[in-house]
Point group: C2
Chain length 739, copies 2
């Protein structure tokens, strides 16, 4: 067990690492040659472009303006300059809501830390339980400040219970306020959006097969009948058979044209082939009201036919899953939930098996001719140190991909839903294998075994009693995974190397460069669960070992800083779900509160403070009630579209910007990627918002680029100039692309 | 423990009792004086009326037609003569679906019993485990035919596992088919119904208070805006302040008129008093489509305002709960679920307390002057035998009422929902205190305590191991509660006595007699949970002690017989929910299957047949999947109204029977009882379908009265004459009432 001194050493090492990363970042980002790595978002919005070859060749690659080196740390205040509404305009509501999670962490744990330090640390320190044990190796100095230092049966435990109540109420209050804010941000965001295809469109699945009729006719007939005054048109997708994906970098304009013609012929073939028609359709309506009504009601007598739901954004659609029949979906869900359970609890079995194979003897048997080399002592010791951990590392590296594949098999129809589903699975894995695994110090299988054979009251006791002992471990975890990890995030070492490799070896046209630069989206499926583990740690240790809280607070603050920078300058979201992940974030923080309450209950029962049990049992009941209330109060804002809102927006549109030809516009919005031209397809793959997806409106959203980066010298526009309007930006990118 | 002989004696006693009841019933029912007790339904439908005073005075009271005595048992085949569609016309879909539960029991357990007798009884009997113990008092003869007779580790257990699989698949198959049939019966029933107010009406709750506007104006404004083309009118109810309920039996026509005028003035006062206006409204639409859309969509940005749902039938509305605000509802639900939990597990505490007071010493202390009397040995022994059980009996007698009160506090808005909610609570009570309580042989508190301190794998083992030993107890239970209980149900001893008492002492007018006769509805909150306990017993014992199955089968068949008679001749349903309880019935049978699987798993694990565990673990997973599938496949038919159906019915109506003045009709359908005239109010209280509640259609539903009761002599219509059409019948009753 670590002493306070050990923690200090670890802290110094991690702080130095983090600062080294930050310094490297600060130096690398002001080199023009790295500009596309650290500011790709601005290239995509069109605020920056490649330099017109400057007179000074070196200046294209290295920053020669030495003044900027003197102010190399000024990126930090700069990231805070952009206000939230501007971030929403610039990067979307998803990114803005994501940043709010970190602020929520600061809001919940900041005041908690202060109160805990004022109340609990004196109470714990005066406990004296561990003073006579202090030389013992098993007990760390940190434990003197934790609940372990309080003697059994002490009335002091009421301070802890009181603190738990205070913390729960405070956390719930903040959660409520935040949910309220995010929900109204979402409604505002949707309301302010210009007319967009997804507001008028409903995804219909499980269209029944009517003999003698094409799917298209069946859809038309059904909706003409049942939504007579509102039905406008529909698009029927194609069976999940994609056109050839072409590595088109080497093709010249001429060749592309030829190919486009061939593709068009292919499209015709596909359109004529009845086997490739999906039993799903995007049905568009002439008003938001009509679409809202259709999305929320049951259409058919047989409730597993004609399933309707809001259409995702065109760029968010995961086409391959549109045509899965209902029964297949049920079976897929069952199979995948069993698979996830098996993965979480038994993943260690195949890994141990692979490890038992991947040792030196195994290698020598498979490749006997290498034996002389393998026997060299240097190679031998390297392999012996390296091989056993390899399987586990490879598995953890592959895990997000495996979980994403599972989510795809489950049959979700939008990337945003796929990512949320993957995040939920990843959180479950982390909860069992990282959090509980670290506390109980056993594999998940052992945990499962002991949970099945222990009484429900024994389990929180078993876990609770070892919580205070693991505080130092989690402090180290926060510093390595949180602090140093965030510094690594901002450094973008891997994209940096990849971009320069691609740029040197493969890039021939400006479009190639755009593709090499592709900044991707924030990795929600990994970022959100990892982040929520900190909420869990904070909730569990807030009362038990409050000394852990400052470390978490530093993480939240630093991560907020880093991600704010990344959201503004780097990431380009593939889709916009308007903060649809917030209910999940909220639920998992509530779950953390419940876990912390149960574990405190278990811990106190080992401290013979049994008479406090009734007091603590009330807390989970209240928390669950709060959860249910929030669910009914706020969740509909994330799942449904109120008719009041739809009518308001419809009326407003009619007055302010009447559009005559809704039909021709809407009927092309949801085009299967196979049917798009190559250029469109590439833009689509890049996640660049297709111009067709919304009817140009006159709502100007002014963007202010973050000024003051050292690379201003080659920006085509002056830094203080107001950036062009959004829809124009997209046109810019598109034109840009075609040159 | 009972031997087979003991069971035989018990069976003989119960069969004799049941036959005595049946004989008494057969004799009593053919006496003209009892006609209103045993055939009230026909009086309400108008097919029978009081005799015009016959020449022979005695013949009015005693059946003098001695021929009918010779055929006094012929009521049995008669009850089977009415076909299901006729029962639906005559008594409603609720009653018809209720009868189907018994048939479902026969379908599930009939073939199961045959296979179990052919396969399991030989396997068990050849086990030989108990032969050397047979003289032991602990083991009964029945156990020789049960799983207890199989030796540990025997491969014969695979026969039981195979049987469990077979039973589960068979039960699920029957459940699926039955759900399918009932769901389509429901849709057909709703589709065939003539135009009725509830099809066009939506209940809106939590109408926000807009300062300066009345609730009525707010509602009008909101729906004119958001459902412009479909909104028709609305009625705003009154705060739960009922008008004086008047025992009007002694009033003559004149007085009633006077009172009516006074009431009208009261109504005016109430209508003008803003404090008595509810924040809830019944909003009517000009088409079913419009109402279906409004009921299924979210109206307001704030999802806890403007809550819409289908309006219950006018006679099904529970007016007092209409105006409960959303937050209050959440709190009520929490409080009531805690209260139900406490009631189920801790009800024994206050009862023991009351018992400790209600003994002889206590009585002597309270009423010291009675001491001499209490000391008499006869009175003393009577009281000592009687008092201790009294508290428990009073509690069990009060229990359904207590649970109904709890459901009312929970805030449901329709009697049908109140009854379903009460039934769920009652089932939970029976499951814990009757079923588990009998098996584990301890109070619920002791169970709770041991469940909290045992591991999750230990609990099914503890229960499972004592299941075979309790078979004889449950056989006796089935005979007493099921067989004799059903014979008591058909005898209607209490209503018989009550009717004759009232008829002799209080009845002055024909209307009084109608009220004295009031047959009430089937007692769903008690009948359905009690019945489902038999499904649970059957599922649990099907594999363990199959000898129990014939007893259950006899119960199902006999009860089907009895209730069919009662549905046709006695009960008059207060409301019609179109089999809305079926999902609950289905879920609870699925729960029974799961319980039986877990208990078999526990039982086998004590038999050291651990290698069979994986085989049995698969079964609950499959059952849960089946449950989920059924839920999504069929439950929407019970919760929502598909637009396809609404459009179909709307179009059909437009062609076949156009109604011009929908508005004036719909705007009076949902009138608060306070605002009705006394006569209407009494009809309403009786549950007689108010003529206003549906627009007369021309769909003739012909009713065939059950012929052949001995009382034909005084029926105003000849038995073979076709009864008048339904809507006319109601008019008949109404006119009848006014004379």
């Amino acid at each position: 067990m670590a002493t306070l001194g050990d923690i200090g050493v670890s802290a110094v090492i991690n702080i130095v690492t983090a600062f080294a990363f930050l310094l490297a970042f600060a130096l690398l980002r002001i080199q023009p040659i790295n500009d596309r790595v650290y500011f790709p978002k601005w290239y995509l919005t069109g605020a920056r472009a490649s330099p017109r070859h400057s007179a000074n060749l070196v200046a294209n690659f290295v920053n020669l303006n030495f003044n900027t080196y003197l102010t190399f740390l000024n990126w930090m205040p700069q990231t805070l300059r952009m206000k939230e509404p501007q971030i929403i305009d610039h990067a979307g509501l998803d990114s803005a809501a994501f940043l709010r999670i970190y602020i929520l962490g600061l809001k919940i744990f900041g005041p908690t830390a202060i109160v805990a330090f004022l109340v609990l640390i004196p109470v714990n320190a005066s406990g004296g339980m561990l003073f006579f044990l202090s030389r013992d190796l098993v007990i760390s100095d940190i434990d003197k400040l934790s609940i372990s230092n309080v003697q059994p049966k002490s009335p002091k435990f009421f301070a802890h219970i009181f603190m738990m109540y205070l913390f729960t109420f405070w956390a719930c209050y903040m959660l409520y306020k935040e949910y309220d804010v995010v929900a109204s941000m979402r409604l505002n965001f949707l309301a302010l959006k210009s007319r967009r295809a997804e507001q008028f469109t409903v995804l219909v699945r499980n269209v029944p097969h009517v003999p003698g009729n094409s799917v298209s006719d069946t859809v038309k007939c059904f909706f003409k009948k049942n939504h007579s005054t509102h039905y406008l048109c529909h698009q029927t997708g194609l069976l999940g058979l994609w056109g050839e994906k072409l590595d088109s970098i080497e093709y010249y304009q001429q060749k592309i044209k030829e190919l486009d013609e061939k593709l068009t012929m292919e499209h015709q073939k596909i359109l004529k082939d009845p086997k490739r028609i999906m039993s799903a359709a995007f049905v568009s309506f002439n008003s938001r009201w009509g679409a809202a009504v259709c999305a929320q009601t049951q259409q058919s007598k047989n409730p597993i036919l004609w399933l309707t739901d809001w259409a995702p954004e065109p760029r968010d659609v995961y086409w391959k899953n549109l045509a899965i029949p209902f029964i297949s979906l049920s079976i897929r869900k069952l199979v995948i939930s069993l698979a996830v359970f098996a993965l979480v609890f038994f993943y260690i079995i195949p890994i141990t098996f692979v490890q038992s194979l991947a040792n030196l003897e195994g290698l020598e048997r498979v490749v006997p001719f290498l034996r002389p080399i393998l026997e060299w002592s240097f190679i031998k010791s390297f392999l012996q140190g390296f091989l056993p951990g390899l399987a586990l590392k490879v598995f953890l590296w592959l895990l997000p991909g495996i979980l994403m594949t599972m989510s795809k098999i489950e049959g979700h129809v939008a990337f945003s839903v796929l990512e949320r589903s993957t995040a939920a699975k990843y959180y479950f894995f982390m909860l069992v294998n990282v959090f509980l695994g670290s506390i109980v110090a056993g594999t998940a299988i052992q945990q499962l075994h002991s949970f099945l054979h222990q009484s429900p009251t024994q389990i929180p006791r078993t876990i609770g009693v070892s919580i205070p002992m693991k505080a130092t471990f989690f402090i180290t975890y926060i510093m390595v995974d949180g602090w140093a990890g965030m510094a690594g995030e901002i450094l973008r070492l891997k994209p940096l190397i990849m971009f320069h490799l691609k740029n040197t070896l493969m890039v021939k046209t400006e479009r190639d460069r755009l593709k090499a630069m592709n900044p991707k989206s924030i990795d929600f499926p990994e970022a959100i669960p990892s982040l929520q583990l900190y909420f869990l740690m904070g909730a569990v240790y807030a009362v038990v070992t409050p000394i852990l809280l400052p470390f978490i607070l530093i993480f939240f603050a630093f991560a907020y800083f880093v991600y704010r920078h990344q959201v503004i300058n780097v990431y380009n979201q593939r889709y916009e779900s308007a903060a649809a992940f917030w209910p999940h974030v909220h639920h998992r923080i509530i779950a953390s509160l419940l876990i912390s309450q149960l574990l405190l209950l278990g811990l106190l029962s080992t401290k013979k403070a049994a008479n406090s049990t009734p007091l603590l049992v009330v807390l989970p009941i209240l928390t669950v009630t709060f959860h249910k209330f929030c669910k009914s109060r706020f969740e509909p804002a994330f799942r449904k579209y109120p008719l009041e809102e739809a009518v308001e927006k419809d009326t407003q549109d009619e007055v302010s910007e009447p559009v005559n030809d809704m039909k021709s516009y809407l009927c092309e919005a949801y085009l299967h990627p196979v049917l798009r031209s190559i250029e469109e397809f590439e833009l689509f793959e890049l996640g660049v918002d297709n111009n067709r997806a919304h009817i140009p409106s006159q709502v100007a959203t002014e963007l202010e680029p973050v000024s003051g980066s050292g690379s201003g010298s080659h920006s085509p526009k002056e830094e203080n100039k107001v950036a062009p309007k959004r829809q124009d930006l997209e046109v810019v990118v598109e034109q840009h692309d075609k040159t």
